[in-house]
């Protein structure tokens, strides 16, 4: 019983660390969906781009963790703004399916451009932190997990503040609720959409750097699986709902950790998609989703 409980707590720690990375990526999905109703399939690749920017910052530029993660976030924010401007904005009034296909195209473009420039070989992410292991009774938490948790908490707190308290954040909520009404209030929705892409991309990049720190290995296709899983996390919490993405990410990470700890790590990925199927069957609006409000 004692070992079972210890194992459970251990998997919770692992799950919450992993889950907070899913949450960071899921936030971008949900914010972008909230504002232009687009499932941005290229979002996982922004996360990959962030990991490479972090890699470049720590190796070539010799930066330490904090400036490196900021560097990656700023770089990815710019990439997000450019992608929206070049690929999605011209499609704003096109049918939903056309812009979805565009997003898939952008995803391939980012993956294969990266392969062209950095080769498909995985890179070893430098270990920025001394791998200290903290023992708390039977539980083990390493310094990377601690960094991930603290970073994720800070980023989510800042995001929540921006969205709820700042003028830009309020404008984001207004545009996502009713774009035309927002325009009638003098809100430049193009600018708000750019801001949303910048914020979402920066968070994904932070996730990418943190994963680099955690697993020590990055490659140009690393965004595919976490991208899909973060999408599941966003749907689980209720797509378009910001706290939903946070909760969905954490739950997904914990479920995965429990499945690999108590059943088998082979089923880890299957767990995410089982969750997707269940949520689509029983509560398609997600855990925090209200009944669908159709605009008239």
């Amino acid at each position: 019983m004692d070992t079972f409980f210890g194992q459970l707590c251990q998997q919770l720690i692992n799950g919450i660390s992993l889950g907070s990375i899913y949450a960071l990526i899921a936030l971008g999905y949900t914010m972008i969906y909230g504002i232009i109703k687009l499932i941005n399939f290229a979002h996982g690749d922004i996360y990959m781009l962030g990991a490479y920017l972090g890699f470049f910052a720590t190796t070539a530029l010799g930066l330490s963790f904090f400036p490196a993660i900021i560097f990656a976030m700023v770089g990815a924010a710019l990439a997000g703004i450019i992608i929206e401007r070049v690929a999605y904005r011209p499609m704003r009034n096109a049918p939903r399916i056309a812009i979805l296909i565009t997003a898939i195209g952008v995803s391939f473009f980012l993956e294969y451009t990266m392969i062209l420039f950095v080769s498909p070989q995985p890179r070893t992410f430098p270990s920025i932190f001394a791998a200290t292991v903290y023992n708390m009774g039977p539980l083990v938490m390493n310094s990377q997990q601690l960094v991930i948790l603290i970073s994720a908490i800070i980023l989510m707190t800042v995001l929540t503040y921006i969205v709820n308290k700042t003028k830009a954040g309020k404008a984001m909520r207004a545009v996502s609720f009713d774009a035309d009404a927002a325009r009638l209030m003098g809100i430049d929705i193009d600018r708000v959409i750019s801001t949303t892409f910048a914020l979402g991309s920066a968070l994904a990049a932070a996730g990418g750097v943190l994963v680099g720190v955690y697993y020590n290995s990055i490659d140009p296709l690393m965004g595919m699986m976490p991208g899909l899983k973060a999408f599941v996390a966003a749907v689980l919490g209720g797509i378009g709902i910001i706290p939903g993405a946070m909760i969905g990410g954490i739950i997904l990470g914990v479920v995965e950790a429990l499945v690999s700890g108590f059943i088998s790590s082979t089923f880890r990925d299957a767990a995410a998609f089982a969750i997707l199927i269940l949520i689509l069957l029983y509560k398609p609006t997600g855990l925090l989703g209200k009944n669908v409000r159709e605009k008239v």
């Binding site: 003028k167 309020k170 404008a171 909520r173 207004a174 609720f177 009713d178 035309d180 009404a181 927002a182 325009r183 009638l184 209030m185 003098g186 809100i187 430049d188 929705i189 008239v296």
Partner: protein
Amino acid sequence: MLQVKDINVYYGAIHAIKGISLEVSDGEIVALIGSNGAGKSTTLRTISGLMKPKSGSIIYDDKDITGKPAHKIVSMGLCQVPEGRRVFANMTVLENLEMGAYTRKDKDGIARDMKKVFESFPRLLERKEQLAGTLSGGEQQMLAMGRALMSKPKLLLMDEPSMGLAPLLVKEIFNIIKEINASGTTILLVEQNANMALSIADKAYVLETGRITLSGTAKELASSEAVRKAYLGG
């Protein structure tokens, strides 16, 4: 203050506005009346810059604003209270009012106007931390009006403010419209409730299937045989 000159507006292949011209002078209340589907909302949406006319021009404050993006028009002092209120239901009353002041930077002025809005609509003050979606229809109309006033408009477009409200509330809303006008804001008022609209307007236009069929002072139209038959119930 506002001149709309021979505009044509389309929804895809649908020719919704067929050469409308109208004029609103400083300080007036001008009513635009007509039945459902006549093109009243489309006219306002075009003036506000949500839609582009295929031809014709819109002059506001002696400047050509045809095809200008909506957010720039608002910062010129032309604001709209849209049909169906369109408050941000996911935000509090206070946040809705803040969004109304989005284009402004004068903090003191914003605070002053916020106080004025709460004086005109005390019910909003009681509910300022409440989500707008939880307000009643009448309160939402007040919020939509207050929100527009927060932009400090010189010209206010209002699209069917009486829609779906009980007669007593309609009276209250129209009294407030008169007050807004008396304090110096010019108003272009769209209504299906022609009786009420003509009772407070200086001038009016009648719109039928995308064309202006009648215009004149509100008094003239209220006593016109055609208008009485079609819009005033005999």
